[in-house]
Symmetry: C2
DNA sequence: TTGTACGCGTTATCAG
DNA sequence: CTGATAACGCGTACAA
């Protein structure tokens, strides 16, 4: 029931050296006589000694830990993002502390992640409000934003994807290749930067093709299949006509496709559908979803890299925007490609 | 570039009290004069003071942190699991440290998660080898296994789902309701307990219906769509006959369905298909997948609860097995239900 | 190349 | 109810 861990003192005593020497072989911080070092290493193995993280942190003033703040944990998004983050952090020797801010934190006022337990923070979308961001920024604490950009005036590096460009290209594809004239656009959540940028891309596409922007063709999908479904059902009830739908993301596309098919519409014959993300199920929808592939895992990787630069006091890139790619499948009306 | 944090001493001085008193109002560890307490609280707010986690850990000998060890981060599994874990941990005031063991750890020999930086460990499937499990167990360090059980002789609590029962019920459903006679079974990875238990369930179902177990009807799907796909293609080439497939999990089902459909088979008319998990895309496959719903999120929640009991020195349940539920959709041949 | 001694920011014990 | 003060385990000048 109790478990007395070996300490650096135990190791030192047993190896017949001082704790300084043990510390030196542990961290390779100063030359140590090879034989002595070996002896220490053996004792470390015998005692199964691992330095106590907190003691180390306290003495060295570095936690060797990165914090990840998420608004919530759900959706197709998180697995690749997390994988990317974990891989790079782990490789760089950082532990990863995770917290979802939208959970009803038992202890309010308790800051779950911050300067007291991490060396830097990765903040996904709106996981942290501007006030806190400003506070962190003022103290000079390393922060990198993912899929969001800093509040006006703050210099906080961020990593995101080509939301606008990807959307524009996709909408232009619908127009140019499939002759679409009335393209529905489903927005993501208000205040979400991905969502806003995609809307800009939608507008730019229309503009570049000299088509009018019709606000009646824009609705709120919320990055959420059920909501998308309801929205489409309403459109159908009101007998709005449209020949294509650009869904805010792939989650939305699921609801869109369901609603359309239940109403007896054929995709892509009656209406073209295109999404954003290329999530796991884009490929397995019927028909397979034409979408914009967002390199989520790389966002995670790049975020950690920038954060580590910040932690090391190096100059990070102010903003990294990762390239997206059009993934043409069948929901837009393009011919069947050999799958796989 | 530097950021001097306020310490408990700063707070004490400014509030005109000793650090002991500050500590007391912070942790409610002894009565403090209300007025004094209020004054301290105000100063804490003014200084934006947050206790330094490492110092706290060092002094109190508790990290207030739970570690999660995963074999890898991928698949439909992780989002709900993580959500469950994070929610309960967070609510109980624990931080969550995550590490994937299959990443090529930069520093070998470095134990990423353990007694030095957590109060207890959640271990998912084969994330940790038996030797390490034994070592941890001997030191009395709190560990809870998820979707796995302890090596022989070790008393380590575990949380899993009714793999065997769920599979048995599903296979019996295929036999009883749909009259299936030759049911293919796709195993998950070797050594994976979920996989092995499901196979037992498959055998039990056959036995309970007095059907012979035919090893030729069992193949390795590996919980992986592409592998499942290849396996099915081979079966088709060899002209093996079967009238149903129980896929090891839903990921497998994706590959199975693709392979069948490409070969021109109709589901469920020509062959019934059933999966396990009820992952996000079970519902959106065509046809919608009949599957066994595994309460993954609850596994995460329950795992944390048991771990916290262990940490508190209470007696945990030796093994928690969460109930599964048959989700009958259309891939097995059952009639269309009104969706949603 | 090695050892001593101090400090990191808290908690916890013990006197008052 | 409050305040000193000794740990907690380790890194790191500084001295040898």
């Amino acid at each position: 029931m109790s478990f007395p861990r070996a300490t650096i003192t135990d190791v030192a005593r047993r190896a017949g050296v001082s704790i300084s020497t043990v510390s030196r072989v542990l961290n390779d911080t100063a030359p140590v006589d090879p034989e002595t070092a070996e002896r220490v290493r053996i004792v470390i193995a015998e005692l199964n000694y691992t330095p106590h993280a907190a003691a180390r942190t306290l003495a060295s003033r570095r936690t060797n830990t990165i914090g990840l703040l998420l608004p919530n944990i759900g959706g197709e998004f998180y697995t690749p993002l997390l994988r990317g983050i974990e891989a790079v952090a782990s490789e760089a020797g950082y532990d990863l502390l995770i917290h979802s801010t939208h959970t009803p934190a038992g202890n309010t006022s308790r800051r779950p992640l911050g300067e007291h337990n991490t060396d830097g923070l990765l903040v996904f979308t709106e996981a942290v409000d501007d006030a806190e961001l400003i506070r962190l920024n003022r103290t000079g604490f390393p922060v990198v934003l993912l899929h969001d950009s800093a509040p006006k005036g703050l210099k906080i590096p961020s990593v995101t994807v080509e939301n606008r460009k990807g959307t524009q290209k996709m909408v232009e594809h619908l127009i140019d290749v499939h002759g679409c004239k009335k393209i529905l656009f489903l927005q993501g959540p208000r205040g979400n930067e991905d969502s806003e940028e995609r809307e800009k891309g939608y507008r730019q596409a229309l503009e570049s093709r000299s088509m009018a922007y019709d606000p009646r063709l824009v609705a709120m999908g919320g990055f959420e299949p059920n909501q998308a479904r309801l929205v489409i059902e309403q459109f159908l009830e009101r007998r709005m006509t449209f020949d294509a739908i650009f869904t805010g993301d792939d989650d939305n596309a699921v609801g869109v496709i369901q609603a359309l098919q239940e109403a007896g519409w054929k995709i892509p014959q009656d209406v073209a559908v295109a999404g954003f993300d290329d999530s796991l199920f884009a490929r397995i929808l019927t028909p397979p979803l034409t979408t914009v592939r967002a390199p989520i895992e790389q966002v995670g990787q790049e975020g950690v890299r920038q954060l580590i630069r910040l932690i090391h006091g190096e100059e990070p890139e102010a903003r990294v925007t990762l390239a997206v790619e059009l993934i043409i499948r069948q929901s837009c009306g393009c011919s069947v490609r050999l799958s796989k």
